[in-house]
Symmetry: C2
Subunit: 245 residues, 2 copies
């Protein structure tokens, strides 16, 4: 049995960040699926691991931890094999990574999760779509992408804050942007189109963690394609409806 157990679903953006981090750093981790589609995250046996009932969580030889950024910081600090660029030791460099990680919660994360939920996923979870909430979240996503594009990718270097190698902030934010895949290939491309530095940065994160970034996103791409097919068939049956997707 692996010492480090991950409780994850690859459809969840912070779960993917943890999985890619472990694979890219050669950590001996066992991946345990907590199937969000089946509501396994709400079951008592999972809440014994994470009382918040969310993924991801980890069990490191009896030490339980949740909140993806706390997990990334912990793994980068506790496992000596992890290269320093993931979580710099220099207090100022680290502080800049922390700033981006904290900013993320109330900006890109809030926008992206809310947009995908209220425009695409909600019915699959038994809730109605909410176009007003989706529009507000879309505005927040665009403002967040603009901040990444103009503020954190404004220096030399392929990664956030001008680094030549990725940090845990690159991984967390990149896995959030890829969640827009749920909106469909065309809509995702349209949202990203005004932000060339963001698009280049996503390619750089994928390349730096190859082939793990791509493989960790396979489940998302497959499900997103099913949602897209459904929208297309509904759209051809009811040509006047859902014109924006």
């Amino acid at each position: 049995m692996a010492k480090l157990r991950l409780f994850v679903d690859r459809l969840s953006q912070p779960s993917r960040a943890i999985i890619i981090f472990c694979l890219a750093n050669g950590l001996d981790a066992e991946e345990n699926l907590v199937d969000l589609g089946k509501g396994e995250h709400r079951k008592p046996e999972y809440k014994a691991i994470n009382p918040m009932g969310q993924v991801p969580a980890v069990d490191d030889d009896g030490f339980y931890l949740f909140e993806s950024h706390a997990i990334l910081r912990y793994l980068a600090s506790a496992y000596p094999n992890v290269k320093e660029h993931w979580y710099p030791v220099d207090v100022k460099k680290r502080a800049q990574i922390e700033c981006i990680l904290d900013w993320h919660h109330t900006n890109l994360r809030r926008g992206s999760a809310g947009l995908v939920m209220n425009r695409v996923i909600a019915p699959a979870l038994g809730h109605p779509l909410d176009p007003k909430a989706a529009s507000e979240c879309e505005a927040l996503v665009k403002a967040s992408l603009d901040t990444i594009n103009t503020l954190w990718l404004n220096e030399d270097g392929s990664f956030l804050k001008g680094s030549s190698e990725p940090s845990i902030a690159d991984l967390s934010l990149a896995c959030e942007v890829t969640q827009l895949q749920f909106l469909g290939e065309e809509t995702k491309a349209k949202i990203l189109s005004p932000y060339p530095k963001v698009r280049n940065w996503l390619d750089a994160v994928e390349k730096a963690t190859s082939p793990h970034f791509e493989s960790a996103h396979e489940k998302l791409r497959t499900l997103a394609a099913i949602f897209e097919q459904r929208r297309e068939s509904q759209s051809s049956e009811q040509p006047a409806a859902q014109s924006d997707l």
Copy 2:
């Protein structure tokens, strides 16, 4: 001139956390008011310090940083005088603090800030009150207080995760709970009443950082009392309206 400059408004909960942290640790910090009521946080000269246009921010001898949790981590790491309990070095103890700090963004912080804005402050900033949003945020505040009460104060020790001395997480969360003062003394007491451990913990944080916790809250108490007086006079003029405040 002090080496460390704080850009803050004591009406902002994360600003208070930074101010109390500096005072409690004897850091030589210069407090610069960024008056939220006058919109000074939106002015270009402040956005040169924090492009997000929010308080708090710090300038540590030319190193600019925003996001209050990033600032607290930075100050605790960069200033040798800060006692270790504020930000434990042990990777597991630290990870538990990080977990609470990350959880805070999307739970207590989101609920408290939204509740106070949508039930009390919005008109003062030119926006309408939003009773539906306020109710949703109140539910999130109560769920968050329950989590603190049952999950993070369930061990011996006066502070979060059973510690006998406060961490930066104690300070951040406590300064958020005190923001409920804006709802009025009675409503705040009513919201806190089911959570005895939270009430004891607030007392412990105040005591551990005395007299700085109390003095940092004076501006909040003064303004909250003005809001309360206004509500009372409006209520006596229009007895049927605003019955819940």
